[in-house]
């Protein structure tokens, strides 16, 4: 009896620690952690480049010789690139793409993640500390002057979140005359004004305060970047994220400026995983677990200025 009690207590305690450190739901059913079980299947199915394809890009050949793909990213971005403290594996959409790209080049999903920040991403690529940057990296013409962008591999943008109990809000037009929350000084607040000027905007300094206010019924919807909302939904299960964003924020895979051969190589790989449905599967297993609706159509490669 005593042993059973202490075992239960241990399980409860480890659940609590897990909940605090990873903020993921603790359940016995397994597979609750996005990208956990599915990721390995994803990697099994993902393609490997032919020798000719590798030979066409000196960068890819160098990575293959090294046996390791070095990625500039983070380990603290839920659903995109977050380290699981139990398995040590980095999980999420960006992390899965990174491993698939590594397998495409090396034949094995060997990746190393170098911690990057929004201010160091360009430098890490320029001084060849990393091979690529996979870090919710928005493609802009200004950045494209310093580094190269393959992709876009994902289109984010401002989107709407509501409580799960709220119905009838699926697009900006539904926000007419409604109270809408946004974090102060975010683009979401600005874009909302353009797409729905008749919404009453309420701003609080942080995302957490906005969600709190939403829960307490001070407004009916909350507007922020799609991937941020999805991350928030990991922490707060009362939150529902509405599928399609209403603005465009295309994410690219950062590579060294002027390396056209490697850019073509990465773009070809992106097209392959898009065509084979692996892109969609990676989305469903990560971001798709928190964003309502079917997987979006993958973005057209090279469709954005700067890519």
């Amino acid at each position: 009896m005593r042993l059973v009690f202490s075992r239960n207590w241990l399980i409860a305690a480890s659940c609590a620690i897990l909940a605090v450190t990873t903020a993921s739901a603790c359940s016995n059913s397994g597979g609750a952690v996005p990208g956990g079980q599915g990721a390995s299947q994803l990697i099994d199915k993902s393609p490997v480049a032919t020798d000719e394809e590798i030979a066409a890009s000196p960068t890819a050949a160098a990575i293959k010789r090294r046996g390791q793909l070095v990625i500039g990213s983070t380990k603290e971005n839920p659903l995109l690139s977050q380290q699981n403290p139990i398995t040590g594996l980095t999980e999420g959409f960006d992390a899965d793409l990174g491993r698939m790209l590594a397998k495409y080049i090396i034949g094995q999903p060997n990746t190393t993640i170098i911690n990057a920040t929004p201010t160091t991403r360009e430098t890490l690529l320029q001084n060849e500390t990393v091979d690529t940057v996979l870090y919710t990296y928005s493609i802009t013409p200004a950045r494209a002057e310093k580094i190269g962008f393959a992709g876009p591999y994902f289109v984010s943008g401002p989107a709407i979140a509501t409580l799960k109990t709220t119905n009838g809000i699926t697009k900006p037009a539904d926000l007419k005359g409604k109270k809408v929350l946004a974090a102060a000084n975010t683009t979401g607040a600005n874009v909302l004004k353009q797409v729905q000027p008749d919404a009453e905007l309420i701003t609080f300094p942080t995302s957490q305060e906005c969600i709190q206010a939403l829960e307490q019924g001070r407004a009916e919807a909350y507007v922020n970047d799609l991937t941020i909302l999805a991350s928030n939904a990991v922490l707060n299960t009362k939150l529902k994220v509405i599928g399609t964003p209403f603005g465009k924020d295309p994410y690219g895979i950062g590579i060294k400026h002027g390396d056209t051969a490697f850019k073509k190589f990465v773009n070809d790989w992106l097209k392959k995983i898009q065509a084979s449905g692996l892109w969609q599967q990676a989305y469903q297993e990560t971001l798709g677990t928190k964003i309502e609706g079917p997987a979006p159509a993958p973005p057209e490669i090279g469709s954005v200025p700067g890519s």
């Binding site: 102060a184 607040a189 701003t203 609080f204 019924g217 001070r218």
Partner: protein, 215 residues
């Protein structure tokens, strides 16, 4: 980008919210302050203790903390006001402690003989406070009360960040996010706050000249 003139309506609205906030918070604060001062000079010990505790509590915790507590904390225990009311409550409750301390210094300036005279005439505690002490106290601290009111006006700028109100400062933040002209916008808004403060200090100055008691 919209031309700058299109934002004038937003600024006018923000200015209005700031004025409404200031006026309402002033009323709340003044009302509480008078009660607090009465408590602090009353002969009943628990009331004196409450008055002292209130002043210390509100003066020693920043207004932003109070606002966040009122906006997000109270609904957790089932008490929810709309954002404007919450802003007024926060600013009013907080400023009341400063008004109370200012008023108390006025009370202290009333010669003890006045109190003794009132008692000798058989006036009640409430009567002597309301008719003898408070009127004299008020008249000797008009200018300092004006200064506290200017402080209150400036403090309303926190309601944008703490209570989600679209006051003058918040309008400036939002417009700046769109047009990125911080120098023009914030200098302009600063001038508006300056003019409002000037209005308050001119009024209190005129009142002080009229009401001051030369001892």
């Amino acid at each position: 980008m919209r031309p700058f003139s299109e934002y004038l309506g937003d600024f006018a609205n923000g200015l209005l919210v700031t004025i409404e906030l200031t006026a309402s918070s002033f009323l709340v604060a003044a009302l509480i302050a008078v009660v607090l001062v009465a408590f602090r000079v009353s002969p009943i010990r628990p009331l004196r203790l409450f008055g002292t505790a209130y002043v210390h509590l509100f003066q020693n915790i920043p207004l932003l903390v109070w606002l966040v507590f009122l906006v997000f904390g109270l609904p957790e225990i089932g008490v929810k006001f709309d954002l404007f009311t919450t802003g007024v409550l926060g600013t009013g409750l907080y400023s009341a402690s400063y008004y109370a301390e200012t008023l108390r210094s006025g009370v202290n300036s009333v010669p003890l003989g006045q109190v003794e005279a009132a008692r000798a005439l058989g006036m009640s505690v409430a009567g002597s406070f309301g008719s003898i002490i408070l009127p004299q106290a008020l008249r000797s601290v008009v200018q300092p009360l004006g200064n506290v009111t200017i402080g209150l006006l400036m403090n309303t700028a926190l309601t944008g960040a703490g209570a989600g109100l679209v006051d003058l400062t918040e309008v400036a933040n939002r417009v700046n996010l769109e047009v990125t002209q911080p120098v023009v916008i914030f200098v302009g808004v600063g001038v508006m706050y300056g003019l409002l403060a000037l209005g308050i200090s001119t009024t209190s100055g005129a009142l002080a000249r009229k009401l001051v008691i030369h001892r």
